[in-house]
Symmetry: D4
Subunit: 179 residues, 8 copies
């Protein structure tokens, strides 16, 4: 990793609450492994709407290329930031707190991230899919930077090798232990 890349974070990650940190750490690890500089903070869309507004308005000026917004409630965070910037915004619907999990909360998170008005898209990934949010952000950076794309190709290759190993384990289990 080059120092210079480090200094200007290319990806801004915001989450609805510090309780979402365990989820978002997985995204952070993914980005570090691919050597992508990023920044993380917490923002509550409806409790502090003005801070969300400032975040959205300043995102471009701070050098971000992409924003990832994750939230366990209805994902107004992603949508509100998207309404203040023309940077691509990736939304991740999360299950924040297992004890209060409910069908209505899950669907609210999922659908409210997807169903934005025409002209204000949010690139939505699956429920809790923080790795895919980070991966998509890197693929978007790859549009500009060929070295980033090369790192992604390496990552994919290593995943394929893992898959071959998984196949070997299953085949062996079937043969040796007669499953």
């Amino acid at each position: 990793m080059q120092q210079s890349e480090r200094r200007i974070p290319q990806i801004g990650i915001v989450m609805g609450s510090d309780r979402d940190l365990p989820h978002m750490e997985k995204a952070a690890r993914f980005l570090r492994n691919l050597d992508i500089p990023f920044e993380m903070t917490a923002l509550s869309a409806y409790r502090c709407p003005d801070r969300v507004r400032e975040y959205g308005l300043s995102a471009l000026g701070r050098g971000f290329e992409v924003v990832i917004a994750a939230s366990g409630g209805t994902n107004e965070l992603a949508c509100l930031i998207a309404s203040y910037t023309t940077l691509p915004v990736i939304g991740v619907p999360l299950r924040t707190d297992e004890g209060e999990a409910s069908v209505s909360r899950e669907l609210a998170a999922l659908l409210s991230t997807l169903e934005t008005p025409a002209g204000i898209p949010v690139a939505t990934v699956g429920f809790n899919a923080v790795i895919n949010a980070a991966c998509l952000a890197v693929q978007i950076l790859g549009v500009k930077d060929k070295r980033v794309r090369a790192r992604l190709e390496e990552y994919r290759e290593s995943r394929r090798a893992e898959e071959t190993e998984k196949a070997r384990r299953v085949e062996e289990a079937a043969r040796e232990h007669h499953v």
Copy 2:
């Protein structure tokens, strides 16, 4: 109706788009019948977030006692206004445009209005339930003004009379025409 009441609108009605006007006209008629002064406008939460912000911040100063926010997409409009004011905000999930109706859009509208973070409530009514939104707004005004409550009691009484008439029609149909 007294002129003086008219001059300061007690209820602010906002809708996501001018396409929602046919729905909201029913609410408007309800309010006029009960002689409640109100004001209506259209606001797109994510296309013009700063106008929504101004609306929320100025609602109290303009004399509103309650705000009704209706939207056919995810109802960030109600939530965003609620985040800028401590006035009670009533949210109505709408089906804006029949031709594009979908299950995911309906559930998104419904659940995103309901599932706001703790401390930022939105008083949600049923899908397309614009009469109930207006009626709830008037019931809230009744907390302050006994004459309003009296008018609501009259309205309820008239509805009960209509119901008695409906019952008579059904009973007659069953008897005379042997259904």
Copy 3:
């Protein structure tokens, strides 16, 4: 808190069963913190419909300004009270008993609270959203009493400070521990 306020409860809280008490205690704490006098009881809508009827008919006379009705089954409690009073009624769909949680029960609670007939609104909040039910009740009281609204503004301000602290924690975690 002034004694005089205490004596006449402004908010009536009813729940479907004493099993709902742990949920409703959170609402009670919220109201005490904001110094709002209230009363609580349990009522089973369909097992004791006449007691619900009496509750609804007497609510205004007892000095209530708002009623909060919470129930873990279909929320006929909120609707039935609403049919006997023109006070604003807030409905909270609850998950009463974790061991019997089911999708149909959750949707039944949610949708039966929302889908009341025109003219009988129930101000519905999210699933298990007892804090928001209490907060909405206080916002409605604020329509009449400026001191209540001032307390709400303070509450919001304190929440915003908490959010800033959360953001600081997340940013620090990202920096110091390299997430």
Copy 4:
């Protein structure tokens, strides 16, 4: 049909609104065909709760053996009557008004009829299943009256003959017209 049976209606049919009459006419026709005396009226559970109460309390005294309650909103009508009588109550969730049909309204009607508290059962039939509501009512009368059961057996037999005819039509279509 004997006159004496006619005079005391054995089944009470209530519907939420006179708009439900086209649906309930099918049930009425079914009962007339099997020569079962019945009575029909309209009752709005939440607009006229006291009339619903009286209906429930007087049902036994009026000679009803079974009550059928049909409603297009949340089916509090069936539940509320069930809470005032120990007669069997059959609930039919209806779609009243096609123009306002919505998923949330359909699920609300269905689930609110089913999910009653323990001790207050409502015998629920499928969405819009008015024939089955009437048929179930007659099957319940058959518990007491063997002649009613015999008529049901005849009805079933005639349906079976119709089914054989349907099969013949399909088989012929496949053979002659090569489908």
Copy 5:
């Protein structure tokens, strides 16, 4: 309880598997408390369709007045028995095995019990609502036997007394412990 009543079971209870016994024991206890003679067995609708057929065909001859059919999968058991008898059949959708609980399985159980063809009704009660299945069966027996109805009235009265006690507990908790 009279011996003679005991000898001829009035209610036949069938369940899809012996794993459903813990659920159905609650129904059995309810019936014993009201002194209603019944019989229980297990039948797998699709594994032993001929035994289900025999059960349905012989139900009337064995003296049953009502059949309760409970099943954790799709409730073909209730429907298939209903297709072989004109006795009223009550269907209870169950969650058999917590470890394999899924949304699709719950909805399959619920909807397949409700959605029977016209002329073959199944009186459906809520998910896992075994008490209501038993209670509904007794209400149907009450159509024929006034003493049974009297016992149901006593049962309801005792439930109302319990509810009053619950209310007292909640009110006390609110007062004494300041909730």
Copy 6:
């Protein structure tokens, strides 16, 4: 096509009602195009359970290799036949009658076909997917008969050619008419 193949139908198609014929004609056409002999009839699972039983018990003896069962209600037809034969049974959930379409009916059809007990599988295809039911039946026949498989390969090849043509049309539209 050889005459001898024609005489013994290899596929038995049953539908719940003659109203399903327009749907099933598409399956019939598919089979004729691939020159597969079949037979069609209508059977109402719960109205004529004994005819369904006979169908299931005789299916093997009549020379069927596969059975396709289609139904617009809950698909007990497929399941019940499957319980009487060890032939592969393909289930197609249908929407029979557009005017009464409902979410609960669609999910009931879909889930009741899928959720059969262990040991009684039904090979389920998508909602209204009659072509796929027929195609799957032919693929199963192909396990035994190489000529059938060859015809399937030809069919696939012709579909691929159609797809290439579709692509050409879209590309042309984009180029010439500037979309």
Copy 7:
């Protein structure tokens, strides 16, 4: 069982990940009990699409008669294999990892297996229904091999005997312990 049968696996089982092995072992045991030779491997549809392609293209040549494809995400595995072969492909939607279970993931697995384009059927079984996937595969082999069908009949017979035993246990529990 003949040795020669053993050597050429008749059923190919693929799963999305080695984490699915505990589920698929149940299918494997079922096949061993009925003495059907099979092979198992793991394939990630989107991580290694070319290996899935090769699997589909070579399935016929390797002697498979049926393929079972199981996956915990969207079941593109079954569909993609089905697009490369005219062998019957059975799809099993799985819940892979309990900790991340969600409604959207369950419905995605279920519906994406069912909803394939016309001409590319996947024989879908219920959620987690691995026994039924294996059983259906054997029923398909039975189309070609009468001895396999005979073994299936024996298996069914033994299941029926188990059901009779279950019924006995329930009846005894009801009698002796008075439930």
Copy 8:
């Protein structure tokens, strides 16, 4: 618009069928208005998997920066292309053919686009949200090209002006015609 930009399409649009063209024309118009060169074709993921593979493998070499994949069934098209390229892939779940619209088909399209395995993200937009798919694609291009971002800002500004006009219309309607 510069000619040179025109020659190398920056966005590849694929749709599942030529029936999707009316939907995708809206996306095409959006791109032309912002002067973004693109290419369109139709690909059936499961009918022609090898053509999808080639499309994915060649996308980078043909100069695409982003791919938009739209499909009315389960959106394997987006996922499969995403598995063959590290370019960002945007998925649009569509309702292709109104006549066969169903809840299961809508949810299948939506959820199968979202729920891809970790490492293979698809940037999903709402149901039928073709404008947002195009807009997101342009926002991604804006990461590389400042002039594109400037055009997006202009577009947003013009939308805001339209919104102001809508608000004016609603306010006028409320004032002049007294709604």
